[in-house]
């Protein structure tokens, strides 16, 4: 359905998933996908410096919708984000339209998002950690629109530890 992982590659974090996964993706279900940090970004028509962002890699990204950007939305995307440079080489391909459930690790607040863009630039912030509840999430592996981010946290906080399921 979506581009699949290369043979022999497995997520470094998160339980292993059954090999026939991905055939029927139920919106926002609870199979663990990945864990890490999320930041936020703006897209679509917007005010201020956000106005230059456009509709994102998928063309339909909007700040006011519960959307997100995934670092392996496509090969071209991967070449820009390069999570493998931070030891996150196993992040699976999830293209435009993929649906994920994002849970704030500290508060448990959750939001259901659709992938509509490529991001964040994982490679620029290798090793960055956010910790709470006795466990730490490493590396920026998700970007949320203001609508999605503010549903689980405060926009002025900038970065959150999250658990992602699908």
């Amino acid at each position: 359905m979506y581009g699949s992982m290369a043979k022999g590659e497995r997520p470094r974090r998160g339980p292993q998933r059954p090999s026939n996964e991905g055939k029927f993706i139920v919106a926002c279900s609870s199979t663990s996908l990945w864990a890490g940090e999320t930041t936020w970004f703006c897209c679509g028509a917007a005010w201020g410096p956000c106005g230059s962002a456009g509709g994102g890699a998928c063309g339909n990204c909007r700040s006011a919708a519960n959307h997100g950007a995934w670092p392996n939305a496509s090969q071209a995307c991967w070449d820009i984000t390069r999570p493998d440079q931070c030891g996150e080489g196993g992040i699976p391909r999830r293209g435009c339209g993929s649906v994920m459930n994002v849970r704030h690790q500290c508060s448990g607040a959750t939001v259901c998002i659709t992938i509509t863009d490529c991001g964040p630039r994982t490679r620029s912030f290798c090793g960055e950690q956010s910790c709470c509840g006795g466990s730490c999430r490493v590396n920026r592996i998700l970007d949320l629109t203001p609508a999605a981010y503010s549903a689980i946290g405060s926009l002025d906080s900038g970065v959150l530890p999250v658990l992602i399921t699908e």
Partner: protein
């Protein structure tokens, strides 16, 4: 004119050598290729990298040819320049927001600069094809005028090779910092409120009461070494909701980098009756 025709090939040659070498040795070529219009034109990111690297090799070959006055190199250079122009026209039509991918660190969208650069390569090499003498012979005949022309041409090409956003400014700014020191504060101002908020949001205290908090940080103040952070929230009483204030007190100097165990105090107050609700709503973990 014949002097100009003799001197243009080495100038274009140096430009091609530099941009070709950077394409061949650059490790982040994949990212450069991804930003360019090539993946859209070729419909394959891997092929785009190979095309970019192949172009680099061709640039190197033509550059060396131009410097050593191999006659065919001038024609090759003119063809290369023409090919760049064709690519830019196609790239601008297919993916106007993508970068040119022409020089090493170029990430700006295709603009007039890229066209001027490609045009200079085509024209410079083309005119060079008309040269009678190799450049070193021409130079030896009229060294004064030749030096001036080479200098002027070199400056023009260097300007063309730079990205449009005035990249020469960045090295100047770096130099100024090196000479006069870093101009920004070293942080005597104490712990920023944002650092306290960050510490709070990663704490067990936050985890415990986050579900009843609705607002962002309303206000903050300091008292006796404590930093007080005030949020608004709501608690459910039967079917109705009552507004509450959620207050946190933490060491005004503490940040999440500190090694000591952090104590955070939490209070919950009804916003209308001022009744203190802490014992009812917040059970300290482990208590």
């Amino acid at each position: 004119m014949s002097l100009l025709a003799s001197l243009l090939p080495p100038l274009v040659g140096v430009l091609l050598l530099v941009s070709g070498a950077l394409k061949v040795v650059r490790r982040s070529l994949r990212a450069q290729a991804a930003r360019s219009a090539l993946p859209r034109l070729l419909k394959d990111p891997n092929r785009a990298v190979w095309v970019l690297r192949g172009t680099g090799v061709a640039e190197l070959a033509v550059g060396i040819g131009l410097l050593t006055a191999v006659p065919a190199a001038a024609v090759g250079g003119a063809l290369l320049g023409a090919a760049f122009l064709a690519y830019l026209v196609a790239g601008r039509a297919v993916a106007p927001e993508s970068s040119c991918g022409c020089t090493a660190s170029d990430s700006a969208p295709i603009g007039w600069h890229a066209f001027a650069r490609a045009g200079a390569v085509a024209a410079g090499a083309g005119v060079g094809a008309l040269a009678g003498d190799p450049w070193w012979t021409a130079f030896a005949e009229r060294p004064g005028v030749s030096s001036a022309m080479l200098l002027a041409g070199g400056a023009g090409l260097a300007w063309l090779a730079a990205a449009p956003e005035h990249q020469w400014r960045v090295p100047l700014r770096r130099l100024r910092i090196r000479l006069f020191g870093h101009p920004l504060a070293t942080g005597a101002a104490g712990t920023p409120v944002a650092a306290s908020v960050e510490l709070l949001e990663r704490s067990l205290a936050w985890e415990t009461v986050a579900p009843i908090i609705r607002s962002g940080l309303l206000e903050h103040w300091e008292e006796d070494g404590w930093r007080i952070l005030h949020y608004a929230g709501a608690r459910r009483v039967g079917d109705a909701e009552r507004p509450v204030s959620v207050l946190f007190a933490l060491d005004a100097r503490a940040t999440r980098d500190g090694l000591t165990e952090r104590v955070i105090r939490v209070g919950v107050v009804d916003r209308e009756t001022e009744e203190v609700l802490t014992p009812e709503l917040v059970a300290a973990p482990g208590a």
